[in-house]
């Protein structure tokens, strides 16, 4: 019992939780705004991969780290545009289109990587983002190492939580996005374009998702590996429901998942001798399913989610 307490009280546990949560924060913010506009974006897993690959490759080719982040966002936006065209003006099934985008973005990323680097045995590395040293805050006892020794991308993710919340709840644009996900005819009756709103939101949301991927190759690690996204996109889809489509709750959900994950790694070293390691790997997923069951039963889905809108249709 005291072992578990030791884990929870260590500063490096909380630092790890925040680090693991960062890509999820980007992803769940992206998924959340798409769904607020009425479009489920299952392209997320592939968009993560594309962001990871494109950001890393741009940096490796000399675009600089922030250049890489920009390229990742653009790559995400491009796949987002594809999903938006298929689902908004064409009104195709959002499930099918999303899974198609995931398969396409993933395989195109792998293909590009293999074509650019045909015969390397170990993946080339870049100079990744380093933890920022923030005066005073980083030196606080416990809180410093726990919260303020992260890379710039983590702080960007936290800032985006506030920014997305502000846009959604405090601006006319956010109002229109929330309305179009609930009742598109309300938006059209007020003279706004349902199509432009939905497409713009999906493109922007996809760019956010790609930043989650870029974090993996440019901050968490310093290279691109096949399979490195490893279901993080799908976790974000679940976290969106868990968060009731609210940015603040999305942050909590991502941190919770990050904490589970960091906890299982540490628990493994304590009791790993008696229990197979795979059990621990499952732990965060089992807990997130359990959390989802509790929360999602009462979930208040955007009413127009998954429903294509055609102008003038009854």
């Amino acid at each position: 019992m005291s072992d578990i307490l030791d884990i929870l009280l260590a500063a490096n546990f909380w630092a790890a939780a925040l680090r693991i949560a960062t890509p999820l924060i980007f992803g769940v913010l992206g998924a959340l705004i798409c769904e607020r506009a009425g479009v489920l974006n299952l392209g997320i897993e592939g968009i993560f991969t594309a962001g990871a690959m494109a950001g890393w490759m741009a940096a490796w080719l000399g675009a600089g780290l922030w250049g890489g982040v920009l390229v990742a966002a653009l790559a995400g936006a491009a796949f987002g545009l594809l999903h938006a065209i298929l689902t908004v003006p064409l009104g195709l099934s959002q499930h099918v289109s999303g899974i198609g985008v995931t398969l396409f973005a993933t395989s195109l990323s792998y293909y590009t990587y293999r074509t650019a680097l045909p015969d390397v045995s170990s993946p080339p590395r870049i100079e990744a983002f380093q933890p920022l040293d923030i005066p005073i805050l980083s030196d606080l006892p416990f809180l410093g190492p726990a919260l303020f020794q992260q890379t710039a991308l983590t702080f960007l993710a936290l800032a985006l939580v506030v920014a997305v919340g502000f846009v959604l709840y405090r601006t006319p644009l956010g109002l229109a996005i929330r309305a179009v996900g609930d009742n598109p005819s309300a938006v059209e009756a007020q003279g706004l374009s349902v199509m432009a709103l939905r497409m713009g939101t999906v493109v922007a949301g996809s760019a956010l998702m790609a930043l989650g991927g870029a974090f993996l190759t440019m901050s968490a690690f310093d290279a691109f590996f096949f399979g490195m996204v490893n279901g993080r996109g799908w976790i974000c889809i679940a976290l969106t429901v868990f968060a009731s489509w609210r940015p603040g709750k999305a942050l909590i959900g991502a941190l919770l998942f990050g904490a589970f994950d960091a906890f299982q790694v540490r628990l493994q070293t304590e009791v790993g001798a008696f229990v197979p390691g795979q059990i621990f790997l499952m732990l965060p997923y089992i807990l997130s399913i359990a959390a989802l069951v509790v929360v999602a039963r009462k979930a208040d889905y955007p009413r127009a989610l998954l429903k294509p809108y055609f102008k003038g249709q009854r």
Binding site: L175, A179, A189, L192
Partner: protein
């Protein structure tokens, strides 16, 4: 029509509007002028093209021919860009749709200001917008809680939000599509008072309706549409119900009359039936329905008639008491058993329970008989037989649709009801359960429903007519019972009752001595 010298300026002018959907012509060369301060009623049966015309005006549809012109702030008429709700709003046209266009997850205030500020501005224009709305609410008498979520508002309040949306955008022309369809009589009265006050302030108002009484009471001028054409445009003062009804339908209207007829043996008997808990329940009710009679069940909606209908449809099972159909007790019954036993069900919510919206008219017509050999060949569906049945039913029930393969969802309420009637009554049922069968229908369709129910009675079927409409109940029923809070009064011959007595019983007044 004579226009007085000092007639106010024209606010809106539609000329030669024609709109076709495939083979169907929804509007044909319709002209309509609207003056400032005037309330015009657009009257017509379902499917006459009223809503289509207004949707063209608001830019939801583009007319194939014709032009819409709107008066600018200086009074000159300018052509309106077709197909753009945005342009219509800019030109000062506000529309209140029959199905509200409100986002339920937002507050009333948010719905009203939605789209009024540039999307990329940094903040919602709160203070000034709120002050303007307070002023509008004071001036129009349309008061709502601006910070309440739409999902928590009543239907009447939602409609007020819709009107405020238009007024907030400084609408000079207000269009309302069937504004009273969802309102209680009292709410409707209040609405029309508000509209009159707004017209007095210079607003030009068009409202769509098929209810003669409200059209006569609330409008200055009445334009009648029939089959997409404008057939009359008269001052309301020159009209009466009979004249309007005939203009709408295109021929003389005669009310269906019930001929005296002796009732036969008992077809359906309920005794001490109890079911459900909470608001929509029936408790300890009993009655006997005889062949060749119509038993009216009067009551204000929500007093257990929906549960009674579900019970008799086989969708619900009683917790106690028994139901006998042709002398046989029915126990473990479900909907299919009830259909086989000869119970025809005309459900209250015809769009949801009466048809499968995504399926065709033909499929909906045969859906209850899909297992009969009539529509099968070697175990497969016989599509030719189904199509033939559709052609026959469309002709004999006058179902207005492009054909048997048309999707049911796209039909008007009256035509959907005709599908239900054709499906259920052509099977020569012994018992007909008609729940609110004419609610929301126009005179023509209501007349059809009444005629068909009387035909079923004439054939020897027993009909249960659940209705809130006393005119309907007294015109059709041989006997009337009143349901209140789940309890049913003993049925009494309609001749022994009067409307006031039934009205009191519906409100829960003591039943025995209220009968005349």
């Amino acid at each position: 029509m004579t226009v007085p010298e000092e007639a106010p300026p024209i606010a809106l002018s539609l000329s030669g509007i024609t709109k076709r959907f495939g083979a169907l012509t929804a509007n044909e060369a319709v002209d309509l002028d609207l003056r400032r301060g005037e309330i015009v009623a657009l009257l017509g049966e379902n499917g006459a093209g009223k809503t289509t015309l207004m949707n063209i005006l608001f830019g939801h549809y583009v007319a194939d021919e014709g032009e819409v012109r709107v008066a600018g702030p200086d009074g000159t008429l300018v052509p309106l860009e077709p197909g753009s709700p945005h342009a219509a709003l800019e030109a000062g046209i506000g529309m209140v749709h029959q199905h509200f266009t409100l986002a339920e997850n937002l507050t009333a205030f948010e719905n009203i200001v939605l789209g009024t500020a540039p999307l990329l501005s940094a903040r919602l224009a709160s203070r000034a917008a709120r002050e303007k709305l307070q002023e509008l609410m004071r001036r129009s008498g349309l008061v709502v809680d601006l910070d309440a979520r739409i999902s928590r508002l009543s239907v009447g309040e939602k409609q007020r939000v819709e009107i405020l949306k238009a007024l907030y955008r400084d609408a000079r022309v207000l269009v309302l599509d069937e504004p009273t369809a969802v309102l209680t009589p009292l709410e409707s009265e209040t609405l029309f008072e508000t509209l009159k006050a707004l017209a007095a302030q210079g607003l030009a108002i068009v409202f769509i309706s098929h209810k003669l009484a409200e059209v006569l009471a609330a409008s200055d001028r009445i334009a009648v549409l029939r089959l997409g054409r404008k057939v009359a445009d008269l001052p309301a003062a020159d009209c009466d119900r009979q004249k309007l009804a005939e203009l709408m339908v295109g021929h003389e209207v005669t009310m269906s009359r019930r001929e005296p007829q002796a009732a036969g043996e008992v077809l359906l008997a309920l005794s001490a039936v109890t079911c459900g808990e909470g608001r929509d329940t029936v408790s300890d009710i009993g009655f006997a329905l005889r062949a060749g009679e119509i038993l009216g069940i009067a009551g204000v909606s929500g007093n257990g008639q929906a549960m009674l209908a579900r019970l008799l449809s086989g969708l619900e099972r009683q917790t106690s008491g028994d139901i006998r159909l042709a002398g046989r007790e029915i126990r473990a019954h479900d909907a299919a058993d009830m259909i086989r036993a000869g119970v025809a069900r005309i459900p209250e919510d015809r769009h949801r329970d009466g048809v499968v919206g995504a399926m065709s008219v033909a499929e909906n017509l045969v859906i209850e008989e899909i297992r009969s050999s009539r529509y099968q060949r070697f175990g497969f569906l016989d599509f030719r037989a189904i199509a033939d049945r559709a052609v026959e039913a469309i002709a004999s029930y006058d179902i207005r649709c492009p054909g048997g393969s048309a999707v049911a969802r796209l039909l008007s309420g009256g035509n959907i009801q005709k599908i239900v009637l054709a499906r259920t009554l052509d099977a020569s049922p012994s018992v007909v359960l008609a729940a609110q069968p004419s609610r929301g229908l126009d005179i023509g369709a209501t007349g059809d429903v009444h005629r068909r129910l009387l035909e079923a009675r004439g054939r020897g079927a027993g009909v249960i007519l659940i209705s809130e409409d006393l005119d309907e109940l007294f015109a059709l029923s041989d006997r009337i019972a009143v349901i209140h809070r789940g309890r049913l009064s003993p049925p009494r011959p309609a001749e022994e009752l009067d409307r006031a007595a039934v009205g009191l019983m519906m409100a829960g007044q003591h039943t025995e001595d209220a009968a005349a």
